[in-house]
Amino acid sequence: MSISGGNKTRVTVLFKDAEDLQRNSVNAQDSIIIKGRGQLVQRRTTSELPHDENKSFGTVRITWKSPDSSGVSVIAPPLSSGLNIYVSGSSKQIPGAVHSAKYDLLHSDEFSDALVRQFLPKEFNPTELMLKDRDYDIIMDDKISMNEYYMIKSDSNETLKYEDGYGKLEVGMFFAEPSDHLDVNLNGLRCTWSSTGQIDKCHKTYLFYQRAHTESTNSNTIVEHLEPIGLHPTIRVDLRGEAPSENCEHYMYLAAPAGLFIDKFQSAPVFIAGADDLEMPEYKIDNGTWGFESLFSLKPGQLNDIKLHARYVTPQPWGNSKLIEYNPIIFQACDTGNMEVQNSPFYTRSLGFESFFTNDTVFKHFHSATLSVSVPAANTNDFQAVWFVTSMCLVLSVAYLLIKVFTRQR
């Protein structure tokens, strides 16, 4: 997707191994065809901001994590679920945002064109985004960089060729060679296109870098709700399989809608920002803040319980319940003293939970889960009956008692 002239487009395809790369990629004169086998693709388009763009923010990061997201990889950063808009250096109050120490955060479980348009140049058309099965990470500061992540499905082919608006096009096809924990060795080739749309040249390429995000080898879900959930859900994080290690701490990053809240005096988070009032119902939260963002320190080698509470929700026409979903992110953060971990060619450290940690921090992510709480809502259709019966009871009972007081006893 182009925004203005002076673009640069880079497509990176991560194959499973060398054989996958050799078998499933075909180079033609003007295109490369990849047979789908679940390869991960990153499409990055970098553009200059339009000259007439009136910037009232320092940096804006917009992320979208689709339901089919492939998660953390050597070329993809971890994203929080749903739509998240991080804004720093804002010259004005952003209505409904959570104001934390590093940025303002807006969140929505569903993608919202209107919300995104508030922050991106008008040339940007969010309806072109393929939200069902692609993740997006859009960063706008002096330039605008749009990263799109998706898998090439087994029953489809991906044709990579020059298109108008791509600017300078470069395609990299790599597979990861076995390496140590943080080291990433990508082997493959890189092709560039000429301005006439022909493949200019392809080079064998070997990339070596260190990454800041890894996934735990333990694929078990370690997060769950304790039963019964009720209006006071308890998140249990099972870290019994984890041992303490020097320079490392375990954390849970939790961003959740305003229907839930944390009693900071009860649960002692490292920080909490946003809807942290302990008494308000959801519908009376100040400024309509969508929810809260928090970070909890966890203890390895044991079960960690974190108590949440549900707010009362707006009565609804047919009562029932409001389903509130949230995705805690569980990770281990370690200080390395090595600043190289932030220099990934595929991912620039930006706004998000990482920004609460130093630049030399590496993160090990644990398999988490989407948790949900069903909060009962009163039925608005019952209001008249409640009003009438309560009013009658109050008036008649007062009359009954006063008559008792002021009449003579038989």
């Binding site: 019964p228 959930i229 009720g230 209006l231 006071h232 900071k264 005096f265 009860q266 009032d277 302990l278 008494e279 119902p281 519908y283 009376k284 009362y312 707006t314 009565p315 009562g319 029932n320 319940s321 709480v373 069903s374 909060v375 009962p376 809502a377 009163a378 039925n379 608005t380 019952d382 209001f383 009956a385 409640v386 009003w387 019966v389 309560t390 009013s391 009871c393 109050l394 008036v395 009972s397 007062v398 009954y400 008692l401 006063l402 008792k404 007081v405 002021f406 006893q409």
Partner: protein, 394 residues
């Protein structure tokens, strides 16, 4: 103090010590804590005071700063449970005052009636869980004790402190004034003494707190309670209505006028004192008045029942209600409360949508049950007043 009374006190003390240590055990080893959530609020507020800061830095601390001051030793001693011992002490002192104020012929009856407070598991649980109601109960009964011994200034001072501590004892001002006025000696002068002393204590402590903590003291300790809308489920008959009214744009007048029925009944029962202005009748009336106040309150939780339980022994000392009727009344009070608690449990812990009709009807039955019980108390007090009037005439 005779052996039976000492034994009763030792029993009461032993029970409280037992509950106190069991509470520490439960807090340590059970998921559900014994200690009241509010106690942690008091303790956190005291922590701010200990560090030279305002107790109102603790969200949801809506009380006088004096309460947080009481718990500052928790932080000197680095033992969170110390404050509970204070509350237990006030609870026992309240029991002592009940014993002192009870006027019954039979020694045995006096012990049984005071046991309603001293050996009452509800009372013991509330103070050992760290609820501060016992401090307020003590102040109210101390004020009444001084009233009985005709120390009007001291009585007024403690009534003023009690109102500073929590606003609701202000409802006792009118019955107390009527009682004092109708005494044979010093009527109006003594009303003046009680009134001025109460006003001085209330204004003095409040001004002192205002000097230290400014508007946040007034906002949290007083104004908040006048304007609060408790939308979350509680025993109050207003609960469902206030939930709807806090959320819907078509609000009716009840959110603003909920105090009207409460005021009508709380003030409406005061004439029951006119026919019999004895001290014992005053205590019975205060029981009925507090019962009415709690029944019609915008918010009602179990701890509010303590407010009238302190007067129950005095009421029962003079009642003509038969045992059978008394049992029916108790059954209704406990039964309707039990039904509410069942649906409250389903909502709170199972997340079931039982707002309407289950929880609503449960609140309503508890309310109507309480109204009927209140009616029985009123009838009974009138019979007693009439008998006492006839006695005087004879």
């Amino acid at each position: 103090m005779d052996l039976a009374t000492v034994s009763l006190f030792l029993g009461a003390l032993a029970l409280r010590i037992g509950f106190f240590f069991y509470g520490i055990y439960q807090d340590k080893y059970f998921e559900v804590k014994y200690t009241d959530v509010d106690y942690f609020v008091f303790n956190d507020a005291a922590s701010y005071v200990f560090h030279g800061l305002s107790p109102y830095l603790r969200d949801t601390y809506r009380y006088t700063p004096l309460l947080s001051w009481l718990l500052v030793p928790n932080h000197y001693l680095q033992w969170i449970h110390f404050g509970k011992m204070m509350f237990v002490l006030f609870d026992l002192l309240t029991g002592l005052l009940i014993l002192n104020l009870l006027e019954v012929q039979s020694k045995r009856k006096k012990l049984i009636l005071s046991s309603l407070w001293l050996l009452n598991f509800m009372v013991i649980t509330i103070s050992t869980r760290g609820n501060a109601e016992s401090v307020l109960c003590f102040l109210i009964l101390l004020s009444l004790y001084f009233l009985k011994v005709r120390q009007f200034v001291l009585s007024g001072l403690f009534l003023g402190f009690a109102i500073h501590f929590k606003i609701y004892p202000i409802i006792y001002s009118i019955p107390v004034a009527i009682y004092v006025y109708r005494q044979r000696e010093g009527g109006l002068l003594n009303v003046f003494k009680v009134g001025v002393a109460a006003l001085l204590a209330l204004a003095g402590t409040s001004y002192w707190m205002y000097q230290i903590y400014g508007m946040e003291f007034l906002d949290n300790a007083y104004f908040y309670h006048l304007t609060r809308t408790d939308h979350r489920h509680n025993f109050s008959v207003f609960h469902m209505l206030l939930y709807f009214e806090s959320a819907l744009p078509t609000a009716s007048f009840w959110a603003k006028l909920a105090f009207l029925p409460q005021a009508a009944v709380t003030l409406g029962v005061v004439p029951l004192l006119i026919r019999d202005s004895s001290f014992n009748n005053l205590l019975s009336l205060l029981f009925i008045q507090t019962f009415a106040f709690v029944t019609y309150n915008k918010v009602c939780t179990s701890q509010y029942f303590i407010w009238y339980l302190i007067f129950l022994p005095f009421y029962l000392a003079r009642t003509n209600i038969t045992l059978k009727r008394g049992l029916v009344m108790t059954l209704i009070w406990v039964g309707t409360q039990g039904v509410w608690l069942f649906f409250g449990y389903l909502l709170e812990f199972k997340g079931k949508n039982v707002f309407y009709p289950c929880l609503f009807l449960a609140s309503l039955s508890f309310f109507l049950g309480n109204v009927w019980i209140l009616g029985q108390f009123i009838d009974d007090l009138k019979v007693k007043s009439e008998l006492s009037e006839e006695k005087k005439k004879r």
